[in-house]
Symmetry: C2
Subunit: 576 residues, 2 copies
């Protein structure tokens, strides 16, 4: 049985050599240095490897079940969740103002990597709770904050986001759930929502749903959507939360993967709810949740890719099959075969660059929240906005592709359930879809993020990359410079593009953007890995692989982007 | 509920306009013209759409089960199989010498496309039987042929290939199953085999296993492997087959997909078997089966891609979500969104070119078997050998990618089981693995097929392509010419390459090869589609899409191929 090995050495290398953590946090989070950060990550890694990974296979086989209207999670999940809460993990990066530990967000993001690597279904519970916390902090009344925030921050209670309806997914303008004011600040919320992660469970504690619905006087479309806090248990006269709200789990969705995660069809039947934020401004509040979630979802792809890599590399070193290249030894471990190495290196080149890029983005998020200089905050905030769709979409696409490659290393055994490789594939697949499909992310990047500050944000990001590339003439830097030049060209060509032209280019554009950003991170890592140690030597090798075997995709992507929309739009709809 | 629409119009277009079926078959199979072929395909399409597709979802949910040592297939499978046999479909392309109908192999291959599109688990039963038939015809004694061939050809009995063991997959040299001669022509076969498709079922009739095993005097390695015919039921004194052989199903493999297909762990416990072919020459006999199967497996990827496309296109025309590009209409069918079109066209550009290329290859197979001129037979045979790994690997890789893209069109609904899109993904995945993983196919192409006749076979194929490209100056021809030029360059550079250099390049090389071959087929289709009809106009549109958006990948692939093996082999095995 494979045991997950947390990537602590890589975290340490990134914090100390690449991201210069202490320096980046100097004006932001003074109490934490790299040593403390590593200690926290080591502790988190032990929890994930020892407690959560062992539940993952069985969680997939058993799944969550709906029994007499209540969700029963797979064996061990409730106990593990209680331990997770008791150890304080949900509050890791939350503000001390709300009972959090106030640690940098990079620790949260890398904890999320390890959670996703070992048990994605489990990791969604605290993940969605954090989204709810963000929305409540940003938009809810003081009364709601006083009642709900502390137990959500601690993880004693959990959160759920109830947005999608069967006829309203990407396009929330079409949603039909109603909220009728009762005159005393309460609302009666009625409707059906689908795909509600963590909609119910057996962990104990309240479950706080944030539900998008329409007020009676709502204008049509997205400007008529409001956000409501709808808890499973309502406050009673004694200040406890014991009164069952009129909401119920209609069914559990039968899904391709994340079987342990109770993805609910939720029915609200005049359920009591309170408005969060302004009437008809629910979409803004929802995006507060979504943006926090999107970085986390990107990391899910990365986490699964890292775990799949570890398991495939371990198998490749043990599995004896075939002859050595010189013909003298037979059988040999399949790690000797060039094509097996190609598959593994393809995964690793993504995982390590992605880990670095996610870490860099997380540092910007902390700077955006807490830097003393307002201009620095704004600059960092814009960079996070720019990179969020890139991390979400590119990491989950490459995460899925990585899981598929890792499964391929196992040959026929990869298709058999017991090895767990096919579970990675099935679980990873959801991350390309939820929190906004990857196509939606790509349109967000091209149509909303590129125009930020008249293009100055993206140009500023490219300048940052260029400055780092110019510090070295290693091949990875040279190749990334070429790719960056192509990226700048296509960025210019997309300025002011029509909706169709943007849509035609968006997915390829986002992939090219991610490729350049990863090349940038490989350049920084290669430049920082100058010692003759196994880790530093491996960084040089994988950087060279990325330069030679992955960066050439930039040409193809640029050509595809420049092809424009005509070919796509020419065919009549009926001819599809 | 989506109903599968057999691609009859496309078959007709290909037979009459592109592949010039009547001309190609003139000296090979005189009794069949394009009209008759279409009639057969229409009949096959009805069977697949009306009888097999409706069993596919439930087959996935129920799966085959092992009850008291016997396999129970999902509801409806046994009846459907009996109908399939009664209608004569298993014998479609088999030789009349053995009770077959002697129709051209292209009809078999396109029947396989429709079987895979509607019910891959079902299609494997006749598919594996055909492999067994091929091996018996080519290698078995007259006695064995007399006893086993006719009921296998008719499909009354089925076949299974028992090759893999837990320690011997790609590398069959490691297999341990023993066969001890009993002195009367019979052998006692003992060992355990895994991943045995159609190893048992409840369709009635005998199940004829072709088992690889070692004779007592076998030399080690692949030169000590022999092939044995081991039937579930042995002949009795009255000429019936009623005596149960000592072989049993140890377990059904729990798999990612093809749940309806009973993939068995088989135990042979001094089971009675007969040698097929020469002692110690079992691998040659096995490759007779494998080569027939590999084209079929490639078609499985294509079939699923076509079905997934049809279902996704149908959904995209109905699903209302989002705003029209000009902002005036809301909601609109998502087929209006450029990125949805990009996904659909990517699938379609593969499916239609793949269907044409598979058809062309199938015609070569018939010419290889039945052309009166020996030189033509040899030429065609070499082309089939060259293209078999390309069809197997490229079509199954692109088939899987297509299923994933089609699932993405459905957003969150694609992740839910009831829509069936995630089943396409899970089912399609196996085709990249079995009958030799796609990495093995790529090595077969580079290390065994490129050197055929000192390189003359591949050069001859490139000349064929070049001659067709030179007949037109349409952009698809121009772009394909550029890609062919790159392919010729890298082919030259791989001549005499080391094992590691071949392995490092193989997968990318095969993909580039397939891209050029598909560009060639798009050129032929575009050149033939000169009328102002919906089908011809669509061919022009999709050809332009392929040229602009898919052929640019040739540059990236060529660069990756030229990168050589150094980067792959540099890292120590322990550093993975």
């Amino acid at each position: 049985m494979y045991s997950y090995v947390p990537p602590i050495d890589d975290y340490r290398f990134l914090l100390t050599h690449v991201l210069r953590f202490d320096e980046a946090m100097a004006e932001v989070c003074k109490d934490v240095d790299a040593d403390l950060a590593i200690t926290v990550l080591e502790e988190a890694g032990r929890l994930c490897a020892d407690r959560l990974q062992p539940l993952n296979r069985e969680g997939d086989e058993q799944g969550s079940r709906l029994v007499d209207g209540a969700v029963i999670t797979p064996p061990g999940f409730a106990d593990a969740y209680r331990e997770f809460v008791a150890a304080g993990w949900p509050a890791l990066a939350a503000s001390p103002d709300h009972g959090g530990q106030g640690l940098p967000f990079i620790l949260q993001l890398w904890l999320d990597e390890m959670l996703s690597a070992t048990n994605l279904s489990f990791g969604l519970f605290p993940g969605l709770t954090r989204g709810a916390v963000e929305a409540i902090i940003a938009h809810a009344s003081e009364d709601l904050k006083a009642a709900y925030l502390a137990p959500l921050v601690s993880g004693e209670w959990t959160g759920a986001m109830a947005l999608t309806e069967s006829g309203a997914g990407t396009d929330l303008a079409l949603l039909k759930t109603k909220a009728v004011p009762l005159g005393d600040g309460r609302h009666a919320v009625t409707g059906q929502k689908i795909f509600i992660s963590s909609g119910d469970h057996d962990f104990g504690g309240n479950i706080v749903h944030l539900v998008l619905a329409r007020l009676p006087d709502a204008p049509p479309g997205v400007k008529g959507i409001s956000l409501f806090l709808v808890p499973k248990f309502l406050p009673d006269a004694d200040g406890g939360f014991t009164v069952r709200n009129s909401m119920s789990v209609g069914a559990l969705e039968k899904k391709m993967g994340i079987h342990a995660q109770p993805t609910c069809v939720m029915n609200y039947d005049e359920a009591t709810g309170w408005l969060v934020g302004e009437p008809h401004r629910g979409l803004a509040a929802m995006f507060t949740m979504m943006n926090a979630e999107r970085l986390m979802v990107g990391i899910q792809g990365l986490g699964i890719a890292g775990a799949a890599y570890g398991q495939a590399a371990s198998y490749a070193k043990e599995r004896l099959q075939g002859r050595s290249a010189d013909g003298t030894r037979n059988p040999v471990a399949i790690i000797e075969h060039a094509d097996v190495r190609r598959m593994l290196l393809t995964i690793r080149a993504f995982v390590e660059a992605g880990r670095a890029l996610a870490g860099w983005t997380a540092l910007q998020l902390d700077r955006a929240h807490a830097h003393p200089d307002a201009a620095e905050r704004a600059k960092a905030d814009a960079l996070v906005a720019l990179l969020t769709p890139v991390v979400k979409a590119a990491f989950t696409d490459m995460g899925f592709e990585s899981a598929v490659q890792a499964q391929q290393v196992f040959g026929g055994h990869g298709y058999i359930r017991e090895w767990g490789m096919e579970q990675y594939v099935r679980d990873a697949r959801i991350a390309q879809i939820y929190e906004g499909t990857n196509g939606v992310q790509a349109m967000d990047l091209v149509a909303r993020k590129l125009p930020l500050s008249g293009g100055a944000v993206v140009e500023g990001f490219f300048d940052l990359i260029a400055a780092d590339l110019d510090t070295t003439d290693m091949p990875i830097a040279t190749r990334t410079r070429e790719a960056l030049s192509k990226l700048r060209d296509v960025t210019t060509s997309l300025r002011g593009a029509s909706v169709d032209a943007s849509g035609a280019a968006a997915v390829d554009y986002l992939r090219l953007f991610a490729l350049v950003a990863m090349g940038w991170m490989w350049t920084r890592m290669a430049a920082a890995a100058q010692d003759d140690t196994p880790l530093h030597n491996a960084k040089q090798s994988v950087a060279a692989f990325f330069a030679q075997r992955m960066l050439p995709q930039a040409d193809a992507l640029a050509a595809s982007i420049m092809a424009g929309e005509t070919t796509l739009m020419a065919l009549e709809a009926d001819a599809f």
